[in-house]
């Protein structure tokens, strides 16, 4: 599941962490993350709105979130 320009990858080790999910939902300015009962869900339609602000990278343990610029590949 990726956007046309941006993909966001959440490491399996934090994907079900409710606290991190809540944090990610809170910090993302364009609502890419949603905190669900099962942990973090990505909102596909918002992926390309990513502003590359890196707030999600700071909200999660280092290296557990990856923002991929598909146009650089």
């Amino acid at each position: 599941m990726a956007g046309m320009f941006i993909d966001v990858r959440v490491d399996a080790s934090i994907a079900k962490d409710a606290e991190i999910a809540k944090k990610l939902e809170e910090v993302c300015p364009v609502d890419i993350f949603e905190a669900t009962d099962g942990g973090v869900a990505l909102v596909e339609k918002n992926l390309d709105e990513c502003t590359l602000c890196d707030l999600c990278l700071e909200a999660a343990p280092k290296g557990k979130i990856e923002v991929v610029k598909l146009y650089e590949r």
Binding site: M4, D48, E49, Y71
Partner: protein
Amino acid sequence: MRFYEYESKALFARHGLPLGEHRVATSADEARAAATAIGGPVVMKSQVLSGGRMKAGAVKFADTADEAASLFQPIMDAVVSGQTGRSVLVESKSPVAQEYFLSVTWDGRRKQPVLLFSDMGGIDIEEVAETHPEHLSRTHFSTLLPITPRIAKEAVGAVGVTGGALNRITPIATELMRLFLEYDLTLAEINPLARLEDGRFVVLDGHVDMEAEARGRHKKLLAELGVQEEETRQARPPTDFEIRGRQVNEADHRGVAGNVVEFDGDLGLVIGAGGGSLTLFDAVRKHGGKPANYCEIGGNPSVGKACELTKLILGKPGVEKIAVMMNVVSNTRVDIVARGVIKGCIESGKDPKDVIAIFRIPGAWEDEGFKILAKHGVDYCDRSVSMYEAAGRAVAKMG
């Protein structure tokens, strides 16, 4: 936004400009009552937001109250530039000795308001300017310094008006200038201002346009005049394309993709930034291009908003390519707009490199934006290419 004549006159009345006795009628009975109250012959004018009423049969004269009643419906039914009247203005008809033209508008080049005056009123002022330039004066004035009668007197006197007429017209012109600034108008026009046979001066017809962005500052006035918030008051009703443009803008609070106006050309325009829209639109035309639309993007529209605007423009019949051009941007991100327009092209089933004639948006996050454009093979340029030149490149591709 345009005012109806009766609203313009209501505004003029607040500033003490001389008006003939008039009433607004919304039925034949009201027209009869108005003519009876005024007494004597009356002129009846359809209230539409467009000129050309006389030619369209939307202005008629009645000698009696019964005649006024019988003329009401034909005047309401008369079509003027695609519009029919919302009401009929019934006004006393007075014998006119001479007609004058008075107008205040903006001079975009001088960046100042200008008072235009002519002693040849009642006819098309462009015609006067062309055939009798000595009968038209142009007097610029400051928006900061006080408005004084001296400015108006110079303007009126410049075409040779002297004596009593000069003294009577001067305060009218002075008030028109004050009114223009006080209400954030883009046009305040009296045509004609009549000198009656008995020597009185009367405003026979008036036209007022207010800057649309100033509506919020004049809510009280607009409410008093009965102008509803949802009334756009443009010279013609919005087209479906324009309505959908407004919907695109309203659907997402992020940034602006507004003022979408439809034209009949083949080059779609995604343009904006600090006056860039007007400059770029003019540049396209100067190069012989035919814009399919006008619009104003800025304030960092979301990818989704830029995408939807692009889809709207590309979906317009006859549009072959789009030009995406802005002034140098600071609060709009180049990469976000680039993503939006490319996505719009792809979702429209078109290859961005084929349909984007030029992408010229320099500024914030341009390096990131240029990577995206390069990846999709889109022709782009930075600020070393002027807006004028970029418009020329786009037009050249329309071959």
